[in-house]
């Protein structure tokens, strides 16, 4: 029986001395592994990005929006027409519920902003001081809105970075007066660069006290009311209290919707499920493509060596030994290629992740495992099949390059 070190030496000789063939196989297998890892990482990245977009509120927060929506089968729309508005007085009442740590009303609208002749459309958010803590907003310069109660307006504003840059350029914005519609507001703070969250580009907003915003836009309802509870365990309890209180305040009509992050995540679960299926679909398609590539390369390169197989048999190699020689060779190249492909895909993902801040790409462990196992399995299977077929031929037929009869 041929000795194991000789089998390995024989296989290595093939790989080292038939370099072109080895490189082609290497590339085919490595591309297969890389494709699976990168594509699934892409899908997973998109999924976790979507997930994080719905995660910004934090687990302690409830959102109240005017209008009762049937929430089955989808999430409530962000802009709903409401029969009765949610008012600041409602917000004040909610703030007194036990278990509520803070409330932050929100009124939004677009308006023209001007400073020193520069004119620009911008989004105004009317809210209170507690909004900043709730949304994890902080200022880079100056201060956040003062705490003067919900009902007191003041002509002050906090502006986003991008807006500051565009209106004031190199000048300091603090203490300057900007015009919003017909009113003038003094800049007291500039937000830290925050990126996009929950559909709002926080670099491109102006934050003013909620009453001032109601006056500016001539509305008395609220767009949203954010409620922060003291303890997560009380979330559901507080939610029921809020619904009950608002129903009482609105003459027995349940005309508001209160949602928690969990409920929102549940309602977007369908989207997330779809994304998961998409990731799996991407993975299987890329595995299929990689598999066919590996299969073809292996069949071609092994079939080219039918004569050698016939010769080995004529010189006293059994069919079993021929099979082992080819499996050893395919196993060696497949292992080297699969592992280098795996490493390369991690390097590429690392580079992508250090380039993009918002989306992080990580290939799920099962995709990594399957990509390696599949690449090696296919390489060995499709080395074994043609080798077995050639070994089962009469040696002379294989020597003459016949394809079998």
């Amino acid at each position: 029986m041929m000795r194991l070190p000789d089998i390995v030496t024989f296989s290595l000789q093939v790989l080292v001395r038939q370099r072109f063939r080895t490189i082609v196989l290497w590339v085919a297998i490595a591309i297969g592994v890389i494709a699976v890892n990168l594509l699934t990482a892409l899908g997973e990245g998109a999924k976790s990005y979507a997930l994080s977009e719905f995660n910004v509120l934090g687990r302690h927060t409830l959102i109240t929006l005017p209008g009762k929506k049937e929430t089955k089968g989808g999430m409530p729309p962000f802009t709903g027409e409401s029969p009765r508005s949610l008012t600041l007085k409602d917000a004040q009442a909610v703030a007194r519920i036990s278990g509520v740590k803070a409330v932050a009303p929100l009124v939004v609208g677009n308006i023209e902003v001007s400073y020193a002749g520069k004119l620009r459309e911008a989004m105004v958010m009317g809210t209170s001081r507690s909004f900043f803590a709730l949304r994890h907003l902080d200022v880079a310069q100056g201060q956040i809105l003062p705490d003067r109660g919900l009902f007191k307006g003041e002509a002050v504003c906090v502006v986003g970075q991008k807006l500051r840059d565009e209106l004031f350029s190199a000048k300091s914005a603090l203490g300057e007066w900007v015009r919003l519609g017909d009113s003038r507001f003094r800049v007291i703070g500039v937000l830290k660069e925050g990126g996009t969250s929950f559909g709002f580009d926080m670099d491109d907003v102006i934050i003013i006290p909620v009453v001032s915003a109601q006056t500016l836009f001539n509305v008395d309802g609220l767009f949203r009311l954010f409620i922060e509870v003291r303890f997560f365990q009380q979330l559901h309890q507080v939610k029921q209290k809020v619904v009950a209180l608002l129903k009482e305040r609105h003459e027995g009509e349940e005309d508001v919707t209160v949602i928690s992050q969990d409920a929102m995540l549940n309602s977007v679960q369908e989207i997330l499920d779809t994304l998961t299926y998409a990731v799996m679909g991407i993975a299987s398609v890329s595995m299929l493509v990689a598999g066919v590539l590996i299969m073809n390369m292996m069949i071609i390169t092994v079939s080219q060596r039918r004569q050698e197989i016939g010769l080995l048999k004529a010189m006293g190699a059994t069919s079993l030994l021929v099979r082992n020689l080819f499996l050893c060779e395919a196993g060696l190249i497949a292992a080297i290629a699969a592992i280098s492909g795996w490493l390369l895909s991690h390097i590429l993902l690392f580079l992508a992740n250090s380039y993009f801040d918002d989306i992080q790409f990580h290939s799920p462990w099962w995709a990594q495992l399957i990509s390696i196992v599949l690449a090696m399995g296919l390489a060995m299977l499709f080395a074994w099949l043609p080798a077995k077929q050639a070994a089962s031929l009469a040696p002379v037929d294989a020597l003459q390059g016949k394809q079998g009869r």
Partner: protein
């Protein structure tokens, strides 16, 4: 000693059944030098394949040194082949990625021989074939005659009792052909049973016995 009794071999080619060997009975003694001659399609190659245990007969018996090989399984036949039979082919069939020395080493490697013993035998064979200075050349750096000498080295390194050569000089010019023929004949003088398929009348004339084949039959020479 080789003994064939009423050996038949048929192929199915499409609709047609071809009788490649038709009731062949021959006896070849140890140390004989046999030339197998005949037109193409006469069954020479099929006979060589069966003699070399590369192919099986459809019916009849084949006794090799008293062993009925028709009864052996593939594994046993392979073992017997590696111990008793060496092959030389018209187109050499050297493995191009291996050096001359490694090509000759291959049968010993396949048989699981120790490295030490392999090296000893390699040195002997290379010296005998006068290939020492070509040992580390790859086949495509060698002339046709040198390649066939390497192939003969590979065939005899396991010290087989039978050497089967299928047109060993068919691809060579007359000078290298003569050298290869001389080498094969000297191996025969050392005791190996030499069976050569050849078109070379001179070689046939020097052999102990000629087997003329026609349509799958052997015409036994007179005397």
């Amino acid at each position: 000693m080789i003994e064939l009794r009423h050996l038949n071999k048929g192929f199915q080619v499409g609709e047609q059944k071809v009788q490649a060997l038709d009731d062949i009975s021959i006896r070849i003694n140890d140390g004989e030098y046999i030339a197998v001659m005949g037109p193409s399609g006469s069954g020479k190659s099929t006979l060589m394949n069966i003699l070399g245990l590369l192919d099986r007969a459809s019916s009849g018996e084949y006794l090799l040194d008293g062993i009925n090989v028709t009864a052996l399984n593939e594994e046993q036949r392979t073992k017997l082949r590696s111990e008793k039979i060496g092959f030389v082919f018209q187109s050499y069939h050297l493995i191009s990625r291996l050096t001359a020395r490694e090509n000759i080493e291959l049968p010993m490697m396949l048989a699981g021989m120790s490295v030490k013993l392999r090296n000893k035998k390699l040195d002997e064979v290379l010296e005998k074939l006068n290939l020492q200075d070509r040992a580390h050349h790859s086949p495509n750096q060698l002339s046709g005659g040198q390649r066939q000498r390497v192939a003969i080295g590979r065939a005899i390194v396991m010290k087989p009792s039978i050497l089967l050569a299928d047109e060993p000089t068919g691809n060579l010019d007359s000078k290298s052909g003569a050298a290869v023929t001389a080498l094969l004949e000297s191996l025969n003088e050392d005791g190996i049973t030499l069976i050569v398929v050849t078109h070379d009348q001179a070689m046939g004339a020097r052999s102990h016995r000629q087997l003329h084949m026609f349509d799958g039959r052997v015409e036994q020479p007179l005397g």
